[in-house]
Point group: C2
Chain length 142, copies 2
Amino acid sequence: MRKYDVYAENCPTRLLLDHIADKWTALVLWKISREPVRFNQLRRDVEGISTKVLSQTLKRLGRDGLILREVFPTVPVTVEYSITPLGRTLSEKLSTITEWAEANIDAVLAAQDRFDRDCACADNAVTANGAKRGLIQPAGMR
Amino acid sequence: MRKYDVYAENCPTRLLLDHIADKWTALVLWKISREPVRFNQLRRDVEGISTKVLSQTLKRLGRDGLILREVFPTVPVTVEYSITPLGRTLSEKLSTITEWAEANIDAVLAAQDRFDRDCACADNAVTANGAKRGLIQPAGMR
DNA sequence: CGGCATCCTTATAGATACTG
DNA sequence: CAGTATCTATAAGGATGCCG
């Protein structure tokens, strides 16, 4: 029996996947999972994230029960973010993705070069069974 | 020695992570990894994706060397997408994420309910060490 | 069938300023 | 320190129509 299916359009797991498959989630969650960390520290560690986006991300992660936010009544106030047991199970899986990215970036970069070069003379590339390969136009992709 | 670091703003792995941590990547890549599949079949399988976005996603995956696009000269033309060895190593890791989502959605949904309820009377929530918890405003998040 | 081009409507991100 | 508020720029997404 499968109750949920990420391939179904209106399945709640889709919304969850949107949260997980966010540009910053893996980065932020992993940092927090290593040790409790404060807002501005996080902002420095995750280079390029704005306070606004970090704030949104933390709010979402907190609501999803993946991280805990604790406010210590110091002056000025101290806020610490830490991972929950649920969050830890996810962050470990997510870290394998960032590790994969670091380990395979060279192969991907090489593939991109090959792809961009092949575009110019793509029409000559025909496989043994008569199928053409790699005929996708470059087009503008960041 | 670590050549690459996803936490560095201008590291190429960041761009790769953006591709991977895309709303549709895990869904599309996993379908293709199971068996070679055609464009419109993919569009039906991945509910809710538009032709435009599917097209972009496939192009990106092809350029990154994760999938292969083959054109068979039938009438009308047949196009088949299949996984590459490199892509397979990633799709296996990504599938653990979607599996996690399906397995833990109940816990997350419960956390969301708790969070949204606690917001109303959050000021009373003080932990033993004097720290307050869960004081994040709900705000509008889809 | 397998897309790309186009238009148009929302989001989302970024920068900046300001508050408890 | 830890954010919120606001404004703007840019892009992402959806709908539609067309073509090889």
